[in-house]
């Protein structure tokens, strides 16, 4: 467990932090591990979802048909630690499609015209040639944030930072308080209703301990999910973006790769081909503990004001 001073040092709460494992108290530890998920080569096979379920023995979370393209998994959750999102975007929007006058029948953003060159459509394996539809596929996962709100708000110490810099729930400690659930700026961790405890991706902590690759990355047939040392992955990702830009895919951008962003950078980051919110990701997540000092100051001031009000209430005349 960390020392109190380390808990309260500002760099533990927000901003750039190059070595979260050391910050958590590991003196000698392996390099920080992570995922680089390159969605430009994802083919939506869901092998990652299956491999994760099988290796980690994650139970099913219902069999629902959503009508959202090929996505019946819907979202990350207590029993879904990899989630493949499918986004179907019309390349050329026919006017009658948007003028049907049926508000709510289309998801927000659907009606936006997607202006992509034909060269881009040809470059992407995910774009189907004749149907005029661009398919975006992305395998989402826990971001293993540098500043992990779930870990910070956990009152039992169940959530902890591993020597690999990842964030893991100790299920024998978790008492199901649920605080981590609304704390996560990405909506990743959730409570398993029939169990009561919180669950999420462990970045295959057990496999990492044995020097193995996490199940999802191992199963990915296109190397869309790449596992490795975070430093190296960031370099590889920067090179990949550059390569795509050179090929004319201007929409390629990295998400969660910047160590100066609102969560200090993600341990699991992405290459996206559209705005993050199109994939169900927050465009500018900020860890809640950035404002922790302000929160406690205001709570303290509020408590003092209440105490003052209590005292002042007895200042009046007797018998009233």
């Amino acid at each position: 467990m960390s020392r109190l001073s380390e808990f309260l040092s500002p760099e533990s709460l927000w901003g750039r932090l190059d070595d979260p494992s050391q910050n958590a108290g590991y003196e000698d530890h392996p390099a920080r591990k992570g995922f680089f998920t390159d969605t430009s080569v994802c083919i939506g096979c869901k092998a990652c979802e299956v491999a994760c379920k099988e290796w980690n023995q994650v139970p099913d979370d219902g069999y629902l048909l959503t009508g959202m393209s090929y996505d019946n998994t819907q979202q990350l959750g207590a029993s879904t630690w990899r989630h493949v999102a499918f986004i179907e975007q019309p390349l050329e929007v026919a006017p009658q499609l948007t003028d049907l006058g049926m508000p709510g029948s289309r998801p927000p953003g659907w009606e936006r015209e997607v202006t992509l060159g034909e060269d881009l459509a040809a470059d992407q394996g995910a774009a189907s040639g004749d149907s005029g539809v661009r398919w975006l596929m992305s395998s989402d996962v826990c971001k293993h944030c540098t500043h992990a709100a779930c870990l910070d708000v956990c009152p039992t110490g169940s959530l902890f930072r591993t020597e690999f810099g990842t964030v893991v729930v100790q299920e024998d400690i978790c008492n199901g308080c649920g605080y981590c659930v609304p704390a996560c700026p990405y909506g990743v961790i959730d409570q398993r209703k029939d169990d009561g405890r919180a669950f999420k991706c462990t970045l295959c902590y057990d496999r990492l301990k044995e020097g193995q690759t996490p199940a999802c990355a191992q199963a990915c047939p296109t190397e869309s999910i790449q596992f490795g040392d975070l430093d190296e992955l960031r370099e590889r990702a920067a090179a990949r973006v550059e390569q795509l830009h050179e090929q004319g895919v201007d929409v390629a951008r990295l998400y969660g790769a910047d160590p100066d962003d609102g969560v200090g950078g993600d341990g699991a980051f992405f290459l996206l081909l559209d705005e993050p919110e199109v994939y169900g990701l927050p465009p500018d997540p900020v860890v809640t503990t950035r404002d922790l000092g302000s929160m406690w100051r205001h709570v303290g001031a509020g408590a003092l004001a209440l105490a003052g009000l209590g005292a002042a209430s007895f200042l009046g005349r007797r018998g009233r």
């Binding site: 659930v181 909506g187 929160m295 303290g300 004001a305 009000l309």
Partner: protein
């Protein structure tokens, strides 16, 4: 989206993944958690009133407020434990102390408060160890105000937009709401001849609650919407109505004990409705990706404009 209301105001343009939520809705149970916030406020405020009553020799008020503080702490603890997914592991809350977790800090406020308030009430009722009882009462009065306001940090220290962005105002909203509820409860239960301090505490608390609530909504901008619309909006209106009714009835209650009791009940119910309103607004802001995307995009735009104003390449880290 049957939950979403039809609005005449055009929706701000934003994109999302098939309209699906980005955040997870809090899994905290209702009514457990709203009731915990409310009764924690009542208990904390009552512990203050009890010490004042003891110091100013108001035995009737002291008796009522000591019992209220102890009962409130007990009910609050039960509600908090019941809310856990694994209630038998409640004691894991005291396994570590983490200033980054308001729930951890809160556990170290609730545990001593409950012990002090329980001991003070037991001593007061039985007459056993009166000096220790008074000491325990002072301890409860010390932990009472933080018990009433830490719950604001509990909610604010999350990614829920309407809670987090209200982190400056919420402690004062909860603190004043606690004053209104604790004062109101004492007005309801204590002898009228001794309930003057409770009337003042509730009255000032009610005015502050309304005023700071208004400031909070002004500052929240588009994030005030969840507090004003739907279920949370109806609860907010109910809360304001009950609080205003409490103020009005209280003003008429000098020689009418019954009116004073009704005014107290109205204050207290107003505080309860407020806690439910804040809880429901938080859930709604987690359900609708609009409340995540639109403010974050605005933040990004503001940052870009700021960077452009300062000129490129001169940004400090």
């Amino acid at each position: 989206m049957s939950r979403r209301e039809q609005s005449m105001v055009p929706e701000p343009e934003f994109r999302s993944y098939y309209g699906r939520p980005i955040l997870k809705e809090p899994t905290w149970k209702t009514p457990d958690v709203p009731i915990y916030l409310w009764i924690g406020g009542i208990a904390g405020g009552s512990a203050l009133l009890a010490e004042g009553a003891a110091l100013s020799d108001r035995p009737g008020l002291e008796r009522v407020t000591r019992l209220t503080a102890a009962t409130g702490a007990a009910i609050g603890t039960v509600a908090l434990v019941h809310d856990l997914g694994r209630p038998e592991r409640f004691l894991n809350m005291l396994r570590v102390f983490k200033p980054t977790s308001p729930l951890s800090v809160g556990s170290y406020i609730l545990a001593p408060f409950s012990s002090f308030a329980g001991a003070a009430a037991a001593s007061h009722v039985t007459g056993v160890a009166p000096r220790l009882g008074r000491l325990a009462g002072a301890g409860a009065a010390l932990f009472g105000p933080p018990l009433a306001t830490y719950t604001a940090a509990l909610f604010s220290n999350t990614a829920i937009p309407v809670w987090h962005e209200a982190h400056r105002e919420l402690p004062f909203v909860f603190g004043s709401s606690a004053a209104a509820a604790a004062g109101g409860t004492a007005m309801m239960l204590a002898p009228t001849a001794e309930s003057g301090p409770a009337v003042r505490m509730a009255g000032i608390g009610a005015v502050a609650e309304l005023g700071i609530g208004h400031v909070m909504e002004q500052r929240l901008g588009m994030l005030a919407e969840p507090y004003e619309k739907g279920l949370a909006g109806r609860l907010t209106k109910l809360s304001r109505g009950l609080t205003v009714a409490g103020l009005g009835l209280s003003a008429l209650s000098r020689r009418r004990p019954w009116v004073r009791r009704v005014a107290g009940a109205s204050y207290s119910a107003g505080s309860l409705a407020l806690r439910f309103a804040v809880f429901e607004a938080g859930r709604e802001s987690a359900r609708d990706p609009k409340y995540v995307v639109v403010p974050q995009r605005a933040r990004m735009r503001a940052r870009e404009e700021e960077a452009q104003r300062q000129g490129s390449g001169t940004l400090s880290s």
